[in-house]
Amino acid sequence: MKAFARLLDQLAFTPARNAKLTLLRDYLGSAPDPERGWALAALTGALSFEAAKPGFIRKAAEARLDPLLFSLSYDFVGDLAETVALVWPHLPGPNREPELPEVVESLKLASRREVQQLLERWLDALDATGRWALLKLLTGGLRVGVSARLAKQALAALGDVPVSDIEEIWHGQTPPYGDLFAWLEKRSDKPSADAPARFRPVMLAQAIDEDSDFARYDAQNYAAEWKWDGIRVQAAHEGGQRRLYSRTGEDIAAAFPDVIAALNFDGVIDGELLIFRDSHAAPFGDLQQRLNRKTADAKLMEKFPAGIRAYDLLVEGDEDLRSLSFQERRKRLEAFVARLHSDRIDLSPLQPFASWEELKQLRAHPPKGDPEIAEGLMLKRWDSVYEPGRPKGPWFKWKRDPHLVDAVLMYAQRGHGKRSGFYSDYTFGVWRRDANGDRALTPVGKAYFGFTDEELKRLDKFVRDNTVERFGPVRSVRADKDFGLVLEIAFEGLQRSTRHKSGVAMRFPRVNRIRWDKPAREADELPTLEKMLD
């Protein structure tokens, strides 16, 4: 348990992805079986316990420590599990520190009552970091910023294999993943990838470079279709198994029973998960209501009915189509979708075009209907096979130009890692009129990239020279009608938000240009932004 606790502890303090990867790889390479397998399951969400409720944990702690001392401690620390982990009196003696596999096995077998007794014994034997990790594990949320994707990358690094190899076999593997580690450490052959309805690693597109790629590639060799604004999914129904995967291979079926019910076919399709209303795609904000949930109730599904707009057909019956050309797969897909007669699965239509110039016009002025809310266009070579990863040449994405708004820098926060000495995270605002008609800035978003290192130095100097107030790592910067720094912010879309004071939330905001020249009072007003709502 010590090594696992230490890993969780470090992951929680490490913001940088690469550093997390190093920590994971180091742990997976040094912890023994089956501990590392259970750790992997806990990190990827394949293993979760809700064995202990906060109320129980607090009561158990107060049985060991005076309640007033506990509450003084809780006030100081601010987090229940952490407080309990810190104040729990260590009981040296016969107690042996539990190992992770022992904890997992016991929890699987124990009744709720027994779990509580076990928990107290384990807390007695562990140190503060161990207690914290155990409580995180038992209350069902590790929240240390590790995605399943990141864990798979660490495994790929451990075995020196492409991450697509891991993804391909992942769904045939179960915790504690003995076969997987044996293969990665070259002690055995690659586990079979023949599990029905397993995940097929996804083919992704490169962003097109408008300056060079159009001259290099011939328009006739490419098909174009709209890039729908949902999430990329893979839907499989094979051997009686139905699955819905995100593009990194996470099984999201439990949150989409309505989509699962519609998979009345034998095969695997690649498509975009969308909310459908009268056969039309709804904006991304609607889909967001259904994302990151463990389940979906009937009311939610009725209000936000989900479906798939199909891009590709990977498997039909027993036949793997991935080595066929896009052109052939497309023909098969069209016939496949037509046979379904489903209001949950439709076809992403191809957009005919004769030249890049014509396509450019289409992208700038999409036809009425669904294409108006598409994210842009996809270009696919007619002869491209379906290959995992992001190969350069066969597929391109060509996103629409972002929305732009001129906002005023209001707050800045220090960054991490390379940027730890710089104020590199910027909260910006636009003008809004209050009830008296006076103009005041209201924050509308936060951006932390889009500028060069040189620009960062200048921004940082501006922040330090014009700080009005400090709150911990945050500085408030002078911003009023007579003085302030205007940032041109690019973003992909705008949604209504009740969580933000301004009532709007941006998708993917970044600094497009720094307007050293523009007076703050000439920055945009909130109504300008509201017109851009999706």
Binding site: D26, F76, K418
Partner: protein, 335 residues
């Protein structure tokens, strides 16, 4: 005992001993001061006469210049000095080099003013010596049951392991320039880390002073030299405030670390953007505070500064007469 308040009392300048006519660690200039240790909030300049250990006087001279007080009196550990009818003895407190508890004897009363102290071993200073007393006046910087510090050796090992794991990055460790920095260096040396350690300029005078007092620190090099080396794979020790400063930019993708008792609490580490918290403290943790009181069995237990509320509650539960003096002016944020 009624006499306690005649022997010691709180004044706007800090703790005062009327029969001896001196203050202990006064927070404002006074005529006569007894100083427990060299940290700047306890050892201020501008007093009339200062009585302290030779090490503490040397630290004050290094920090403020030789003229930091009108007069000084160096009293080695264990020597008995008399002021009017009060005898004063300085006894090791285990906090930093030269740190002392002040033991007062007056009319049959023994009072101990702990200053800042710890009970754990520290290769850079003498260990705390418990003195049985009627009145124990203690600090309470970490006076909450959440503070059970792990073994400092484990924290040094954590740092060394992280350096091995991230050979391309600089480990930038914030540590208080007096005491914490030297203890951390000594811990790293004990753990077998024998590469040069790189120092912020603010560390130099205290490092030199410790070395002159026979504390071995190994090879120390300036972190910032003319070559502007980014120091990948090296450990740099700097004052806590420098970690977040422009100064930190020169290093290779630095991992910010901080050696402090406050690092026990996650929110404190996150607030400072610390990615490698190292729980190394020169103060007593909750167990040390409470066990020390139980060991000394004083008739009364007074608390000078820190988190006194929980200790008062603990004293009540354990039937120990306790009072919080709430002396203002001591800051331990950077501990």
């Amino acid at each position: 005992m009624a006499g306690f308040r005649q022997l010691l009392r709180n004044t706007p300048q800090g703790l005062y001993c009327p029969p001896g006519d001196f203050h202990i660690d006064p927070v404002a200039p006074v005529a006569r001061a007894v100083i427990t240790h060299g940290h700047s909030d306890h050892a201020r300049s501008g007093h009339g006469a200062v009585l302290a250990t030779p090490e503490t006087l040397a630290i004050m001279a290094a920090r403020y210049g030789e003229a930091f007080a009108a007069g000084t009196e160096a009293v080695p550990y264990g020597a008995k000095i008399t002021r009017n009818d009060v005898s004063v003895t300085l006894v090791p407190a285990g906090h930093v080099l030269g740190s002392a508890q002040v033991v007062l004897n007056w009319k049959g009363i023994t009072a101990v003013v702990s200053g800042d102290y710890k009970r754990r071993s520290d290769p850079t200073c003498l260990a705390f010596e418990p003195v049985a007393c009627h009145l124990f006046v203690s600090e309470a910087t970490f006076g909450l049951p959440v503070f059970h510090f792990p073994p400092a050796q484990d924290e040094a090992a954590k740092l060394i392991k992280s350096v091995a794991l991230f050979p391309g990055r600089t480990h930038l460790v914030g540590a208080y320039a007096l005491g914490k920095a030297q203890r951390l260096i000594a811990l790293l040396r004990q753990a077998g880390y024998d590469k040069p350690l790189y120092m912020h300029g603010a560390m130099d005078s205290m490092n030199a002073l410790y070395q002159a007092h026979g504390v071995a620190l190994g090879a120390l090099l300036p972190a910032t030299d003319a070559a502007r080396n980014a120091l990948p794979g090296e450990i740099v020790i700097a004052p806590p405030s420098a970690i977040a400063d422009k100064w930190a930019r020169r290093f290779a993708d630095p991992i910010p670390a901080f050696a402090s008792g406050w690092m026990m609490v996650r929110a404190r580490a996150r607030q400072r953007h610390v990615e490698l918290p190292l729980v190394v403290s020169d103060h007593a943790d909750w167990d040390e505070l409470t066990l020390t009181v139980q060991e000394l069995k004083p008739e009364e237990f007074w608390i000078t500064h820190g988190n006194e509320e929980a200790l008062l509650r603990w004293a009540l539960l354990n039937d120990i007469a306790a009072t919080a003096l709430e002396i203002a002016g001591y800051e331990d944020e950077e501990e």
